[in-house]
Amino acid sequence: MSTDRIEKKTLLRAPRTRVWRALADSTEFGSWFGVRFDGPFVPGASMRGVIVSTTVNAEIADAQKPYEGVPFEITVEQMEPERLFSFRWHPFAVEGGVDYSVEPTTLVVFALEDAGEGVMLTVTESGFDRIPLGRRAKAFTANEQGWGMVVKLIEEYLVRAR
Protein backbone atom coordinates (compact mmCIF):
# COMPACT_ATOMS: atom_id res chain seq x y z
CA MET A 1 0.00 0.00 0.00
CA SER A 2 1.10 3.57 -0.61
CA THR A 3 2.74 5.32 2.28
CA ASP A 4 2.41 8.68 0.55
CA ARG A 5 -1.32 9.14 0.12
CA ILE A 6 -4.74 8.40 1.49
CA GLU A 7 -7.84 8.43 -0.67
CA LYS A 8 -11.43 8.47 0.56
CA LYS A 9 -14.61 8.39 -1.51
CA THR A 10 -18.03 9.09 -0.10
CA LEU A 11 -21.45 9.52 -1.72
CA LEU A 12 -23.35 12.45 -0.28
CA ARG A 13 -27.09 12.68 -0.85
CA ALA A 14 -27.21 16.44 -1.17
CA PRO A 15 -27.17 19.03 -3.97
CA ARG A 16 -23.76 19.84 -5.35
CA THR A 17 -24.18 23.51 -4.40
CA ARG A 18 -24.81 22.44 -0.78
CA VAL A 19 -21.70 20.24 -0.63
CA TRP A 20 -19.59 22.96 -2.18
CA ARG A 21 -20.75 25.48 0.41
CA ALA A 22 -19.86 23.08 3.22
CA LEU A 23 -16.32 22.91 1.84
CA ALA A 24 -15.64 26.38 0.49
CA ASP A 25 -17.25 28.48 3.21
CA SER A 26 -14.71 28.61 6.00
CA THR A 27 -17.39 28.89 8.68
CA GLU A 28 -19.27 25.88 7.32
CA PHE A 29 -16.06 23.93 6.88
CA GLY A 30 -15.15 24.70 10.46
CA SER A 31 -18.52 23.55 11.75
CA TRP A 32 -18.04 19.95 10.64
CA PHE A 33 -14.28 19.81 10.80
CA GLY A 34 -14.01 21.30 14.25
CA VAL A 35 -11.96 24.44 13.64
CA ARG A 36 -12.66 28.19 13.62
CA PHE A 37 -10.84 30.19 10.94
CA ASP A 38 -10.03 33.88 10.96
CA GLY A 39 -11.61 34.68 7.58
CA PRO A 40 -13.01 33.38 4.29
CA PHE A 41 -11.13 30.85 2.14
CA VAL A 42 -9.34 32.52 -0.77
CA PRO A 43 -6.94 30.75 -3.18
CA GLY A 44 -3.38 31.25 -1.95
CA ALA A 45 -4.44 32.51 1.45
CA SER A 46 -2.78 31.34 4.63
CA MET A 47 -5.54 30.69 7.11
CA ARG A 48 -5.09 30.69 10.83
CA GLY A 49 -7.55 28.99 13.07
CA VAL A 50 -8.05 27.24 16.35
CA ILE A 51 -9.57 23.89 17.13
CA VAL A 52 -13.13 24.11 18.40
CA SER A 53 -15.73 21.47 19.06
CA THR A 54 -17.79 20.42 16.08
CA THR A 55 -21.37 21.66 16.11
CA VAL A 56 -22.54 18.73 14.05
CA ASN A 57 -22.29 15.90 16.56
CA ALA A 58 -22.60 16.38 20.33
CA GLU A 59 -20.80 13.17 21.28
CA ILE A 60 -17.77 13.99 19.16
CA ALA A 61 -17.89 17.57 20.39
CA ASP A 62 -17.38 16.29 23.93
CA ALA A 63 -14.36 14.27 22.84
CA GLN A 64 -12.88 17.36 21.16
CA LYS A 65 -13.26 19.60 24.18
CA PRO A 66 -9.77 19.04 25.62
CA TYR A 67 -8.20 20.26 22.36
CA GLU A 68 -10.08 23.51 22.04
CA GLY A 69 -7.84 26.47 21.33
CA VAL A 70 -4.96 24.50 19.78
CA PRO A 71 -3.69 26.56 16.80
CA PHE A 72 -4.35 25.24 13.34
CA GLU A 73 -3.14 26.55 9.98
CA ILE A 74 -3.82 25.75 6.36
CA THR A 75 -2.83 27.37 3.06
CA VAL A 76 -5.59 27.33 0.49
CA GLU A 77 -4.43 26.24 -2.97
CA GLN A 78 -7.22 25.85 -5.51
CA MET A 79 -10.91 26.69 -5.46
CA GLU A 80 -12.83 25.68 -8.59
CA PRO A 81 -16.50 26.24 -7.70
CA GLU A 82 -18.48 23.03 -7.22
CA ARG A 83 -15.58 20.98 -8.53
CA LEU A 84 -12.38 21.19 -6.52
CA PHE A 85 -11.08 22.61 -3.25
CA SER A 86 -7.52 22.02 -2.06
CA PHE A 87 -5.22 23.17 0.70
CA ARG A 88 -1.91 22.35 2.33
CA TRP A 89 -1.18 21.80 5.99
CA HIS A 90 1.37 20.29 8.32
CA PRO A 91 0.22 16.91 9.54
CA PHE A 92 0.81 16.26 13.23
CA ALA A 93 1.97 19.84 13.81
CA VAL A 94 1.18 19.69 17.47
CA GLU A 95 4.53 19.76 19.23
CA GLY A 96 5.06 22.99 21.14
CA GLY A 97 7.97 25.25 20.22
CA VAL A 98 8.59 23.68 16.80
CA ASP A 99 8.66 25.86 13.66
CA TYR A 100 6.78 23.70 11.18
CA SER A 101 6.72 26.42 8.55
CA VAL A 102 10.07 25.26 7.09
CA GLU A 103 8.89 21.67 6.70
CA PRO A 104 7.05 20.05 3.79
CA THR A 105 3.28 20.01 3.89
CA THR A 106 0.73 17.45 2.79
CA LEU A 107 -1.83 18.37 0.14
CA VAL A 108 -5.51 17.78 0.85
CA VAL A 109 -7.85 17.77 -2.17
CA PHE A 110 -11.64 17.61 -2.16
CA ALA A 111 -13.06 16.77 -5.61
CA LEU A 112 -16.79 16.73 -6.43
CA GLU A 113 -18.61 14.93 -9.21
CA ASP A 114 -22.25 14.11 -9.91
CA ALA A 115 -23.28 10.60 -8.96
CA GLY A 116 -26.89 9.49 -9.29
CA GLU A 117 -28.99 11.45 -6.84
CA GLY A 118 -26.06 12.96 -5.05
CA VAL A 119 -22.44 13.94 -5.16
CA MET A 120 -19.38 11.74 -5.09
CA LEU A 121 -16.80 13.41 -2.89
CA THR A 122 -13.22 12.20 -3.20
CA VAL A 123 -10.72 13.33 -0.58
CA THR A 124 -7.03 12.68 -1.01
CA GLU A 125 -4.20 13.62 1.31
CA SER A 126 -0.76 13.17 -0.20
CA GLY A 127 2.86 14.02 0.49
CA PHE A 128 3.43 12.00 3.65
CA ASP A 129 6.65 10.55 2.22
CA ARG A 130 8.16 14.05 2.13
CA ILE A 131 7.81 14.61 5.85
CA PRO A 132 11.41 14.66 7.14
CA LEU A 133 12.73 11.42 8.56
CA GLY A 134 14.02 13.38 11.51
CA ARG A 135 10.53 14.59 12.29
CA ARG A 136 9.18 11.09 12.06
CA ALA A 137 12.02 9.67 14.15
CA LYS A 138 11.43 12.29 16.79
CA ALA A 139 7.82 11.28 16.86
CA PHE A 140 8.90 7.81 17.97
CA THR A 141 9.91 8.95 21.39
CA ALA A 142 8.79 12.51 21.96
CA ASN A 143 5.45 12.79 20.34
CA GLU A 144 2.96 10.01 20.64
CA GLN A 145 0.88 11.93 18.16
CA GLY A 146 3.29 10.70 15.53
CA TRP A 147 2.36 7.08 15.80
CA GLY A 148 0.63 7.08 12.49
CA MET A 149 3.82 8.39 10.92
CA VAL A 150 5.89 5.76 12.65
CA VAL A 151 3.82 3.01 11.20
CA LYS A 152 4.02 4.66 7.79
CA LEU A 153 7.77 4.66 8.08
CA ILE A 154 7.75 0.96 8.85
CA GLU A 155 5.50 0.24 5.90
CA GLU A 156 7.65 2.37 3.64
CA TYR A 157 10.73 0.59 4.81
CA LEU A 158 9.21 -2.84 4.32
CA VAL A 159 8.15 -1.94 0.80
CA ARG A 160 11.60 -0.68 -0.11
CA ALA A 161 13.32 -3.65 1.49
CA ARG A 162 11.62 -6.10 -0.89
Binding site: W32, T54, A63, Q64, V94, A137, F140, W147, E155
Partner: protein
Protein backbone atom coordinates in the same frame (compact mmCIF):
# COMPACT_ATOMS: atom_id res chain seq x y z
CA UNK B 1 -9.58 19.34 14.78
CA UNK B 2 -11.04 16.02 15.60
CA UNK B 3 -8.51 14.07 13.57
CA UNK B 4 -5.72 15.18 15.84
CA UNK B 5 -7.90 14.87 18.86
CA UNK B 6 -8.73 11.26 18.15
CA UNK B 7 -5.09 10.55 17.36
CA UNK B 8 -4.21 11.85 20.78
CA UNK B 9 -6.89 9.81 22.42
CA UNK B 10 -5.46 6.68 20.88
CA UNK B 11 -1.91 7.78 21.58
CA UNK B 12 -2.88 8.06 25.21
CA UNK B 13 -3.17 4.30 25.42
CA UNK B 14 -0.36 2.98 27.50
CA UNK B 15 2.27 0.50 26.48
CA UNK B 16 2.95 1.42 22.90
CA UNK B 17 5.44 4.23 23.41
CA UNK B 18 8.41 1.93 24.11
CA UNK B 19 7.35 -0.13 21.13
CA UNK B 20 7.75 2.78 18.75
CA UNK B 21 10.93 3.97 20.39
CA UNK B 22 12.32 0.52 19.70
CA UNK B 23 11.55 0.92 16.03
CA UNK B 24 13.32 4.24 15.69
CA UNK B 25 16.49 2.81 14.29
CA UNK B 26 17.20 1.65 10.75
CA UNK B 27 19.06 -1.46 11.89
CA UNK B 28 16.08 -2.50 13.95
CA UNK B 29 13.67 -1.72 11.12
CA UNK B 30 15.82 -3.89 8.87
CA UNK B 31 15.74 -6.70 11.41
CA UNK B 32 11.99 -6.46 11.60
CA UNK B 33 11.78 -6.52 7.83
CA UNK B 34 13.91 -9.65 7.61
CA UNK B 35 11.96 -11.39 10.35
CA UNK B 36 8.76 -10.40 8.57
CA UNK B 37 9.85 -11.86 5.26
CA UNK B 38 11.91 -14.80 6.46
CA UNK B 39 10.00 -15.97 9.50
CA UNK B 40 11.85 -17.15 12.63
CA UNK B 41 15.61 -16.78 12.18
CA UNK B 42 18.76 -17.35 14.17
CA UNK B 43 21.20 -14.53 14.90
CA UNK B 44 23.59 -16.17 12.44
CA UNK B 45 20.89 -16.06 9.76
CA UNK B 46 20.14 -12.44 10.54
CA UNK B 47 23.82 -11.50 10.37
CA UNK B 48 24.33 -13.01 6.89
CA UNK B 49 24.28 -10.32 4.22
CA UNK B 50 24.23 -7.58 6.82
CA UNK B 51 27.03 -5.11 7.45
CA UNK B 52 26.18 -5.03 11.12
CA UNK B 53 28.07 -7.17 13.63
CA UNK B 54 26.56 -10.13 15.41
CA UNK B 55 26.94 -8.29 18.71
CA UNK B 56 25.07 -5.27 17.39
CA UNK B 57 22.28 -7.45 16.05
CA UNK B 58 22.03 -9.23 19.38
CA UNK B 59 21.78 -5.89 21.14
CA UNK B 60 19.02 -4.69 18.82
CA UNK B 61 17.10 -7.93 19.21
CA UNK B 62 17.13 -7.45 22.96
CA UNK B 63 15.75 -3.92 22.52
CA UNK B 64 12.97 -5.37 20.40
CA UNK B 65 12.39 -8.04 23.03
CA UNK B 66 12.14 -5.45 25.79
CA UNK B 67 9.58 -3.57 23.71
CA UNK B 68 7.52 -6.74 23.35
CA UNK B 69 8.23 -6.71 19.64
CA UNK B 70 10.23 -9.94 19.31
CA UNK B 71 10.91 -13.08 21.29
CA UNK B 72 13.29 -16.00 21.05
CA UNK B 73 13.42 -19.72 21.77
CA UNK B 74 16.46 -21.94 22.12
CA UNK B 75 17.04 -24.51 19.38
CA UNK B 76 20.12 -26.52 20.33
CA UNK B 77 22.99 -24.06 20.52
CA UNK B 78 21.20 -21.33 18.63
CA UNK B 79 18.55 -18.90 19.73
CA UNK B 80 15.82 -18.43 17.12
CA UNK B 81 14.08 -15.09 16.99
CA UNK B 82 10.64 -14.21 15.75
CA UNK B 83 8.35 -11.23 15.71
CA UNK B 84 5.48 -10.88 18.07
CA UNK B 85 2.82 -10.77 15.35
CA UNK B 86 0.07 -9.60 17.62
CA UNK B 87 2.01 -6.48 18.53
CA UNK B 88 2.96 -5.96 14.90
CA UNK B 89 -0.70 -6.04 13.95
CA UNK B 90 -1.40 -3.53 16.69
CA UNK B 91 1.17 -1.26 15.09
CA UNK B 92 -0.31 -1.68 11.63
CA UNK B 93 -3.63 -0.60 12.95
CA UNK B 94 -2.18 2.81 13.63
CA UNK B 95 -1.45 3.20 9.95
CA UNK B 96 -5.18 3.16 9.40
CA UNK B 97 -5.61 5.81 12.04
CA UNK B 98 -5.20 8.76 9.69
CA UNK B 99 -7.59 7.11 7.33
CA UNK B 100 -10.10 6.62 10.14
CA UNK B 101 -9.75 10.27 11.10
CA UNK B 102 -10.91 11.23 7.62
CA UNK B 103 -13.82 8.81 7.91
CA UNK B 104 -14.86 10.58 11.11
CA UNK B 105 -14.58 14.02 9.56
CA UNK B 106 -16.48 13.02 6.42
CA UNK B 107 -19.20 11.46 8.56
CA UNK B 108 -19.71 14.85 10.17
CA UNK B 109 -19.74 16.53 6.76
CA UNK B 110 -22.49 14.10 5.73
CA UNK B 111 -24.53 14.95 8.82
CA UNK B 112 -24.27 18.61 7.86
CA UNK B 113 -25.12 18.46 4.15
CA UNK B 114 -27.74 15.68 4.21
CA UNK B 115 -29.68 17.37 7.00
Amino acid sequence: MSARASARAIAAQKGSAPLFAALGDTTRLRLISRLCDGGPMSITGLTVGSNVTRQAITKHLHVLEDAGRAWSTRHGRERVWQLNQRRLNDARRYLELISAQWDDALGRLRELVED
